[in-house]
């Protein structure tokens, strides 16, 4: 019987389709199931966003690509020793700071899974760096690192009798300070994300593993981590992309100094464009990050589409 019913259905539908005009087909292609004025409404609801995107994203992107399209710019860029230092700094920043940050976040998220009021209270305090705007804290860290009057060296002197170095006058300590500041600022955020990921794991899985005798490290390696791996990967990709554009941490903690040796691409682009009045060179510096950015974005978009990770 169901067969017969469906056969009748197709018989009825088929001849009708034959009379659909080209014009109607085209309308169907553009409007989908929406009819009459509904389509106009749907379009009207979209128009503001399309306008924002066209004017403030597509146009600047196109304009930027046009600004940075001259090959001579890149010759000038690659012959600038500061640019080469910047590339190394950016690679170190992404390679070290991001991974340290996310690994610490993974461990700390396990720590915050502990029950009891203490860990809840600690979490409330721990998220403060994220809640406070980045500017005041980076300025504060900048001052803390002052060799003569900063809190770090004062503490070192009063507690241990050590005279600390002048952190921001050496390239490597300055770059290290920038990385630590970045980790300080963003660690709470990623910890909270990974904590949410851990909480989404059903407790039955842990109980079953416990019955099978898994404890501590083995539980982490064989149970928690495989379940968190996908989220961890997405977090790493997202964090890398966002940190590539992290302007504030470098700009306020080290200011790119000493002698412009701690710039990253984001700050160097702004420096070229506004301190040295060479906007095209600045855009070229930013565009030179695209060979890294585009693959990362592609992988991330694919991950977003294929995995049901709720961020």
């Amino acid at each position: 019987m169901p067969d017969g019913a469906s056969a009748i259905g197709t018989v009825q539908v088929l001849p009708r389709r034959r009379f659909v005009s080209v014009e109607a087909q085209r309308r169907h292609f553009w409007r989908g199931h929406l009819q009459g004025s509904e389509y106009a409404w749907a379009l009207a609801f979209c128009v503001p966003y399309i306008a924002v995107f066209m004017i403030f994203v597509a146009y600047p992107v196109g304009f930027g690509i046009w600004m940075g399209s001259k090959p001579t710019l890149y010759a000038a860029l690659f012959s600038d020793p500061i640019y080469l230092e910047t590339v190394i700094n950016t690679a170190l920043f992404l390679g070290i700071a991001i991974n340290v940050k996310l690994f610490l976040a993974l461990l700390l998220s396990g720590f915050f899974m502990r029950k009891g009021w203490w860990s809840k209270a600690l979490l409330m305090v721990f998220v403060l760096p994220w809640a406070v705007p980045s500017l005041p804290t980076y300025i504060s860290i900048h001052w803390m690192l002052n060799g003569e009057w900063g809190l770090i060296n004062n503490l070192g002197w009063h507690l241990f009798g050590i005279t600390g170095p002048d952190w921001l006058t050496d390239r490597w300590t300055a770059l290290g300070s920038v990385m630590v500041s970045h980790v300080w600022k963003w660690l709470p955020f990623w910890t909270v994300i990974l904590l949410a990921g851990r909480m989404a794991i059903p407790s039955e899985i842990y109980e079953a593993a416990k019955v099978d005798g898994a404890t501590g490290l083995r539980m982490f390696v064989h149970v928690s981590f495989p379940l968190l791996a996908n989220l961890y990967l997405i977090c790493t990709l997202l964090s890398t992309i966002f940190s590539l554009g992290d302007f504030n941490s470098v700009y306020f903690v080290s200011g790119g100094g000493p002698a412009d040796s701690t710039h990253v691409l984001a700050t160097l682009g702004i420096r070229y464009a506004f301190d040295l009045a060479q906007p095209r060179l600045g855009v070229a510096a930013v565009i030179s990050a695209l060979p890294l950015l585009i693959p990362l974005v592609t992988i991330l978009m694919r991950k977003f589409r294929t995995s049901q990770v709720q961020l």
Binding site: W143, H158, W184, P188
Partner: protein, 302 residues
């Protein structure tokens, strides 16, 4: 080796006793470890914030000293900020107003634009709507600072520098993609049958949007408005590039301008920083309970 060999010869009762002792010791150890870790985390988190508060309470002489505590805590820094009593701070409340204006306008426009687009894409299911979602997602993952130079040039050519609306435009641009992401995710939990039945009753899309969609999306609207407000309030680079005039500056730009002065009054600066940071902290802790894991990602962009 030797200990296991020895315990093999012990009577069963003492073996289980020692096992229990080991377990107890392990529990004790893990507790101690957690305690140490807590202290480390606490110090790590608090130190830069302590520095802000401490410096803001110092007087002018204490700033350039090796003291760990202000010799006499004074609220002078705050008094100066509140009364605009220093030449860097002479427009402070005006700048504070600018920040609020930018935040409010960004929030409102983000909510309006993103909710309308999400309604069209996920509720009316406009053809090719998925392309718009993807475009939004793509915009979300472009680092903001990478667009700053061309954006500035465009605003300059329109004569919009030193105009708060240039900043608002930038903030709305960067807030809408994430807002659409959240709206579409949250919207999945609202049954489309509601829209269908309203449509059968003769409601126009506009009526469905205003009377059904928006009220049911209230939690997502709260989350997104928090996100947009904080984004606009905390953002620095675009505001710094667009706003150079003292009267058109927002608070973060004014705060950073301190750094360029030769005689940096650090105590005034840190007092300003605290006044500036109070609003986002308060908002953060107010909505924290409502921010589920899904709604937290927005804080990423600094």
């Amino acid at each position: 080796m030797s200990s296991t060999a020895l315990s093999g010869f012990r009577p069963a009762a003492t073996a289980s006793q020692s096992m229990r002792r080991i377990a107890r010791r392990q529990r004790y150890l893990s507790k101690a470890l957690a305690g140490v870790l807590s202290v480390v985390v606490l110090i790590w988190t608090i130190l830069p914030l302590y520095n802000i508060v401490m410096v803001s309470l110092e007087d002018n002489n204490d700033v350039f000293s090796d003291k760990l505590l202000p010799s006499v805590p004074s609220l002078d820094g705050y008094r100066v900020v509140f009364t605009e009593g220093y030449w860097y701070l002479e427009d402070f409340w005006h700048q504070f107003g600018n920040s609020i204006y930018v935040g409010a306008a960004t929030t409102f426009l983000t909510l309006a634009i993103a909710s309308a687009a999400s309604f069209s894409i996920s509720r009316m299911r406009i053809r090719h709507g998925w392309m718009l979602s993807n475009v939004a997602l793509l915009t979300y993952v472009i680092p903001q600072s990478f667009l700053a130079i061309p954006f500035y040039r465009i605003m300059q050519s329109y004569g919009l520098t030193n105009n708060l609306w240039s900043v608002i435009a930038a903030m709305v641009t960067f807030a809408t993609p994430y807002a659409m992401f959240i709206f579409q995710q949250y919207g999945r939990s609202i049954p489309t049958e509601l829209d269908e039945s309203a449509r059968i009753d003769g409601a126009s899309p506009m009526q469905i949007y205003v009377r059904i969609y928006l009220p049911l999306m209230a939690p997502a609207l709260v989350a997104v408005s928090t996100y947009a407000l904080l984004l606009a309030w905390n953002e620095y680079l675009y505001q710094f590039l667009m706003l150079s005039d003292k009267r058109s500056m927002t608070v973060p730009v004014a705060l950073a301008a301190f750094l360029n002065s030769d005689e940096a009054p650090w105590n005034y600066m840190m007092a300003t920083a605290i006044v500036y940071a109070v609003l986002p902290i308060a908002i953060y802790y107010m909505v924290r309970g409502r921010m589920t894991a899904g709604l937290t990602v927005g804080g990423v962009k600094g």
